[in-house]
């Protein structure tokens, strides 16, 4: 218990890094203090809640509304001024470990095509083992009464088709896996 408390103290004082989806690092020291250290400089980022229930940050005399729209463990999606940003929050140690693990894993040559929106599979236009070119249509997904052609963004061979005609899919469901050529 005593040790944990000590840990909390160091966390509060020490450095946390938000790692963006594009691998950009935003490092802050003393995030809970009045003055935060960012890029070696002391900055004041003021957070407020207005009487209407909006949260916003005041930065260089401008108000930016913000909210957390997704949060699980250290994964965050924050909507700020109408645009969402995804991050994982890391400590300097966890970031190092993460980078090490990623370098060990190597790069996978297969890509997945996920459902961009919830809908129904109207037609599958390719078969497993078929060669596809970037831009080629793979299947037709009906959503909000529109027939949307889902196309490949890589050249390759269809490794796996995870859906069938008339299947209903949720957003981000795996549709097709393609082995890059």
């Amino acid at each position: 218990m005593a040790e944990k408390n000590k840990g909390a103290k160091t966390t509060k004082k020490s450095q946390l890094i938000a790692l963006s989806a594009a691998n950009k690092q935003y490092s802050f020291t003393n995030p809970l203090e009045r003055v935060v250290k960012y890029k070696g400089e002391n900055v004041k980022i003021k957070l407020y809640e207005d009487p209407n229930g909006f949260s916003y940050v005041l930065w260089k005399n401008k108000k930016y509304p913000l909210e957390i729209i997704e949060k699980s463990q250290n994964k965050y999606t924050v909507m700020l001024n109408g645009v969402w940003h995804s991050f994982t929050v890391e400590t300097p140690f966890s970031l190092k470990r993460k980078k090490f693990l990623e370098s060990q894993a190597g790069t996978s040559s297969s890509v997945t095509i996920d459902a961009p929106m919830p809908g129904k599979i109207v037609e599958v236009l390719i078969e497993e083992g078929a060669e596809v070119k970037s831009g080629e249509s793979l299947l037709i997904l009906e959503a909000m009464k529109m027939q949307n052609e889902i196309s490949s963004h890589v050249d390759g061979v269809v490794k796996k088709i995870a859906i069938r005609q008339n299947d209903s899919v949720m957003k981000d469901d795996l549709l097709i896996e393609i082995e890059k050529s």
Partner: protein, 499 residues
């Protein structure tokens, strides 16, 4: 005959919009309540509510012709306003109204039928020498016929649903191999959406502007136009932003196109408010596309620059009144832009964003108009269109409107759902849009990133993630005593005390 009561066979912002004018005219309003959104705002604005929450058939409430007809008669309601979408351009509904002596606030069923069928509309336009694009004279027999027609017309071609609208049932083919596949796709989509698989084909103008003219016509043969709307900012044929006047038109071209629009309306015996759509190519040649026989989503920009209430005009025309404005008296003053705010995730290909709007706050000002059907606590359901609001900004010039729009968008705060506000910002940032130099290919060729984020925004968002994470850690590890209390305390409340 004077209309004393109106059933609004619609929902959302347009229902509220119609009720606003009806009330000003001393007309009683009736709205339809559905089980899909029983607490929606538009219901609070109506004088009377018709309860359709009990499901009587598979037909969606706002498409249930006989149930609506019965309701109108049962409640002795004088007139029906269909709004846009749903039954607005359904000739069967308009005809049933005519048969039952219900005043349908719109044109005659015959006109809706003629203009709804694009091949009939084009034949009429041809007869009155309104310019048209090369294409099939009637609907296509099959895919093979489409392919042969395409080879004659020359590529690219566009396949369109004869009964189409709103971007559905439309596909472009750039070569012979694509035609048959696109034919089947579009035809299937059309069969689903409009219960009619028939298609026609025409030459595709690659980078046209979409310009439409607002028409007003009474039942006594008077027809005028209220200038144009520039609707070229589209995604997959869905309009996202409209303005009036168009930066592409000069008074001479406006006069020519306006006259062509009036000719078409007169040719079909049009009355009520209607819209004639044209394509305008890079050399400023215009081609008739279709006529929409309803009030349009983007009608507010015309209202702003003309000062004419289009819903009021529709009601007066339906009552048999003569137009009180002549073409010479129509003045187009200033500039207006409408931003459609859809509950969509721009960053994920404009996919629908469902959920509850926790908080919403709009900018205020003399030159700002917000037409919306949602408020704090409104639920966005998958059953209806994703458009939740229209922000309309008016000013003396386009430059002034662009400037004020940036501020207005900045002051539009919506919490709880993703919206196209970030897209509006991206458009406003674009140099060619600001110069008025754009066409319907704007999204695919010019605006590479469909949302706009200011330089420090990602850093600020990152800070908030770090801040929240650090607070959670502190709470979990250090403050056991406050665990129960802490659950409901947001970092913000603590923050206010601290700072």
């Amino acid at each position: 005959m004077k209309i004393k009561s109106i059933l609004i066979a619609n929902r959302g912002e347009i229902a509220i919009r119609i009720m606003r004018t009806a009330k000003q005219m001393g007309i009683e309003t009736y709205a339809i309540k559905t089980a899909k959104e029983p607490t929606a705002w538009y219901l609070d604005e109506a004088d009377h509510i018709i309860d359709f929450t009990e499901c009587l058939s598979d037909t969606p409430e706002f498409l249930d012709i006989e149930r609506i007809i019965y309701t109108v008669k049962d409640n002795k309601i004088d007139a029906v306003h269909p709004g846009y979408g749903f039954l607005a351009e359904n000739p069967v509904f308009a005809r049933r109204c005519e048969e039952e002596k219900i005043n349908f606030i719109g044109p005659s069923s015959e006109v809706i039928y003629n203009m709804g069928n694009k091949t009939v509309a084009k034949d009429l336009a041809r007869k009155y020498n309104v310019p048209l694009l090369r294409g099939s004279k009637g609907t296509l027999l099959n895919a093979d016929y489409a392919r042969r027609m395409a080879n004659i017309i020359g590529y690219p071609v566009i396949l369109k649903a004869a009964a189409g609208g709103g971007g559905r049932g439309m596909r472009v083919a750039t070569n012979e191999a694509e035609v048959e596949r696109m034919y089947h796709l579009a035809s299937k989509e059309s069969a689903k959406a409009f219960n009619d698989p028939s298609m026609f084909i025409e030459k595709y103008v690659a980078e046209p502007r979409h310009i439409e003219f607002q028409i007003l016509a009474d039942k006594h043969g008077n027809t005028i136009h209220l200038g144009e709307r520039e609707c070229s900012i589209q995604r997959k044929h869905q309009k996202l932003l409209e303005e009036s006047p168009s930066p592409a038109l000069d008074p001479e071209l406006r006069k020519k196109m306006g006259e062509a629009a009036i000719n078409i309306a007169k040719a079909v015996g049009y009355y009520s408010a209607g819209t004639v759509e044209f394509l305008l190519d890079a050399d400023k040649n215009f081609y008739f596309m279709e006529m929409n026989t309803r009030i349009q989503v983007e009608h507010p920009v015309t209202e702003m620059v003309t000062g004419i209430d289009l819903i009021e005009q529709m009601i007066r025309i339906a009552q048999g009144e003569k137009l009180r404005i002549s073409q010479e008296e129509v003045r187009l003053e200033g500039h207006a832009i409408e931003f459609r705010i859809n509950a969509e995730d721009v960053q994920s290909g404009f996919s629908p964003s469902l959920g509850t709007i926790e908080k919403i706050s709009w900018p205020e000002g003399e030159n700002i108009r917000v037409d919306t059907g949602v408020r704090d606590g409104s639920v966005i359901t998958p059953y209806f269109d994703s458009m939740i609001a229209k922000l309309i900004v008016y000013g003396e010039s386009r430059d002034k409107v662009l400037q004020d729009s940036t501020n207005a968008i900045r002051k539009s705060w919506i919490k709880g759902t993703k919206t196209t506000l970030s897209f509006c910002r991206a458009v406003l940032q674009n140099g060619n849009f600001r110069k008025g130099n754009f066409n319907t290919s704007f999204l695919s060729s010019e605006l590479k990133i469909h949302y706009h984020s200011e330089p420090d925004e990602e850093m600020l968002a990152a800070f908030f993630a770090v801040y929240d994470y650090a607070r959670d850690l502190e709470e979990a590890e250090g403050k056991k005593l406050n665990v129960d209390k802490g659950k409901n305390i947001t970092p913000w409340l603590l923050n206010k005390r601290l700072r």
